[in-house]
């Protein structure tokens, strides 16, 4: 008998407090790599608020974005709330798309471990994040250009004119593809800048997809909205090789997303799932952004997390050396 469930129960309730109501049909989509304690605790939390939880367990998919088996897809489509806790992301799957279009609220929790459910923000803190996120989203939406700088050398400008900002802070918000979605842990607000307009240098210093926690910062030169040069140490080479092998020409589009992170109860640990949400951090992405309002569809979407950035939208200082200034 695992005693960790005692610590987990408090945090497992949060996504339901924010998004569920009694009687909701909840599907918890796990696979055989998911710690059973994760779905067990989430299922208990759903039960506790009077929702109707159903857990589905499949074999792990081959990779991120691969489709679940038909019975799982059917279960997702027939639910009010879908929690994705499998070991691979279903974010870019048809099954997720159909479920969302059918009206389900999707909560992204892929690769969530039982440890990750023992800390985090509570429901009230998420509601505060949601208000702050909305405020920054409005700045993104009405802004024309963005400038990103850091002490390590980042100096990047891009146009965001005509682009809608978004915020996802644990409370599901409408997505451009229909339905609602959020993540857990959560807390970010961002914008997909206009493709082809970015110029400058982007230095990633904390965490990068497929590289993990970063020792030697990755310096990426951006010209006309595309990464043209990879510099740095091991991580820079790893990233370049990974995109060469697994990506396509659209994978180099950058920044396809600039997001300011808002969660005050998370710390940088070297784990992407939570590093992407730590308050004051910023993640910038390469590749796909058509799922949240951009025009790029690539095989890849790669986030890089950094600290101590300064972000100015038009003449509004939004982030000042990692401190939220609005």
């Amino acid at each position: 008998m695992e005693t960790k469930i005692i610590e987990m129960m408090k945090f497992a309730r949060v996504p339901f407090e924010l998004n569920a109501k009694p009687g909701d049909r909840v599907a918890i989509i796990a696979d055989t790599q998911t710690d059973p304690l994760v779905w067990e605790t989430l299922s208990a939390a759903a039960h506790e608020i009077g929702a109707e939880p159903v857990v589905t367990i499949m074999l792990p998919r081959k990779g991120h974005g691969h489709e679940p088996p038909d019975p799982v897809a059917a279960a997702m489509k027939d639910s009010d709330i879908v929690l994705l806790v499998a070991s691979t992301a279903l974010a870019h799957s048809q099954a997720r798309d159909r479920a969302q279009k059918a009206g389900a609220t999707i909560i992204f929790m892929e690769q969530l471990t039982s440890d990750m459910l023992t800390y985090g923000a509570n429901a009230d803190e998420y509601r505060e994040m949601d208000i702050l996120g909305k405020r920054i989203e409005d700045i993104w939406t009405s802004g024309k250009s963005v400038s990103v700088r850091s002490t390590l050398g980042t100096n990047l400008t891009a146009s965001i004119e005509g682009r809608r900002g978004f915020h996802i802070c644990g409370v599901a918000t409408p997505s451009v593809v229909g339905g609602k979605r959020c993540a857990f842990h959560d807390g970010e607000c961002g914008v997909p800048p206009v493709e082809g307009t970015a110029e400058g240098l982007w230095v990633v210093d904390t965490w990068m997809h497929h590289c993990g926690a970063i020792r030697d910062p990755i310096k990426l030169t951006i010209e006309k909205g595309k990464v043209t040069k990879f510099e740095g140490g091991f991580e820079a080479r790893r990233l370049e090789e990974y995109i060469e092998k697994n990506g396509d020409e659209y994978s180099y589009y950058c920044p396809s997303e600039i997001s300011i992170q808002l969660n005050p109860k998370l710390e940088f640990t070297g784990i992407g799932r939570t590093d992407k949400k730590v308050r004051g951090g910023v993640h910038i992405a390469m590749g796909t952004n058509s799922t949240f309002g951009g025009k790029i569809t690539s095989k890849l979407h790669l986030d890089g997390v950094s600290r101590n950035y300064t972000i100015i939208v038009d003449d509004i200082l939004v982030l000042d050396k990692g401190k939220i200034a609005v």
Partner: protein, 347 residues
């Protein structure tokens, strides 16, 4: 509570390390022999939080080993046997090539099952309330080829038969017509829309409604209530039970039916003969019904099976009552003699 009485028999399910090896044999029988799963077929294992994870994990492993695509679906236990499962579960059931029922409370007499099996032509295996123990001991250890031989003999007699009379030492004396109601073959589910029971086996049929008359004395077990300490008597007139008498269990049954039942809960819906000499009467919602030479008769939802897709009475409940050593006459000829099947001895 009366309707929680059967949980006790599931207590053995504390997982023992290494036990999976012994469970695997039964799991393979279900997947390879009963269902004949071929590579690429999707199988949904429907379970709930009262079932040992080892049961559905092992079944899922057997599906994967056979090249199938396994999905486990775990819900909360249903409020009573044959209550409708959540629509999320129903959706998963009808979108699989086959589905296996290992729920603590059966989903057998639900719309979700009828739609998945009959309309979507999915294969279905009935194994509700399965414990780890039930996959290792008792009915599961029988030689299934021999079991089928016994079964086909019984099925043959019942298929040709017109009139059945059941009597027992406890006072059962009930007669009904089975004309045009051949028993279901529940040994394997390899054809689209077919059904199997594991561990089996039995020969279930739906008697012609409204022809059932007499007295049924349940001497051993009632579904959802458990083993009976005192026989429970059902008086039947024109297919409907009009009086339930007996001791504590009779009271529990009445309470259960008043809580979960509906206007069709009292109609006789099923008559079945158990076939498995290795099955034990242990108060299990599955294994007891398979005991060799026993008879169970159910009130509530009728047996649904092609070509008789719709039984006359559908109800929210389906409650089986078990007689351990009855005598069964088919058109005046003995088919079961005090718990021994004539012409098909124990093996």
């Amino acid at each position: 509570m009366a309707d929680r009485a059967f949980w006790y028999e599931m207590v053995d399910t504390a997982t023992k390390y290494g036990r999976i090896g012994r469970l695997m044999k039964s799991a393979r029988t279900v997947v390879e022999d009963c269902l004949g799963i071929k590579p690429g077929e999707t199988v949904t294992i429907v379970s709930d939080t009262e079932i040992s994870p080892l049961v559905y994990h092992t079944l899922s492993g057997a599906v994967t080993a056979a090249g199938g695509i396994a999905t486990i679906v775990i819900m909360e236990p249903l409020p009573h046997a044959s209550a409708e499962p959540p629509s999320v579960v129903a959706a998963a059931m009808r979108e699989s090539d086959a589905f296996i029922n290992v729920c603590s409370r059966t989903i057998s007499h639900t719309k979700a099952r009828y739609v998945a099996q009959f309309e979507y032509k999915r294969r279905y295996v009935i194994m509700p309330a399965t414990t780890e123990d039930m996959l290792i001991s008792g009915a599961a250890t029988a030689d299934y080829k021999k079991l089928k031989e016994v079964g086909l003999k019984v099925i043959d007699v019942l298929t040709k038969g017109k009139q059945v009379r059941v009597i027992s030492d406890y006072g059962t004396d009930v007669s009904f017509s089975i004309e045009g109601r051949p028993p279901k073959n529940v040994f394997e589910a390899r054809e689209p829309g077919s059904v199997a029971i594991f561990p089996g086996a039995e020969a279930p049929l739906g008697p012609v409604e409204d022809t059932v008359n007499g007295t049924i004395v349940i001497d051993r077990f009632i579904l959802e209530i458990g083993l009976v300490s005192e026989p429970v008597t059902w008086k039947v007139r024109n297919g409907k039970v009009y009086e339930i008498t007996g001791g504590r269990e009779a009271e529990q049954l009445k309470e259960y039916l008043s809580k979960h039942g509906d206007e069709n809960s009292m109609y006789i819906g099923e008559f079945s003969i158990g076939l498995n000499p290795y099955a034990r009467s242990i108060g299990s919602n599955l294994e007891d019904k398979e005991v060799y030479g026993s008879v169970h008769i159910a009130i509530g939802s009728g047996v649904h099976y092609p070509p008789y897709y719709t039984a006359k009475y559908h109800s929210k409940t389906h409650i089986d009552g078990l007689m351990l050593k009855p005598t069964v006459f088919v058109d005046g000829k003995k088919l079961v003699d005090k718990g021994e099947i004539v012409g098909a001895p124990r093996f």
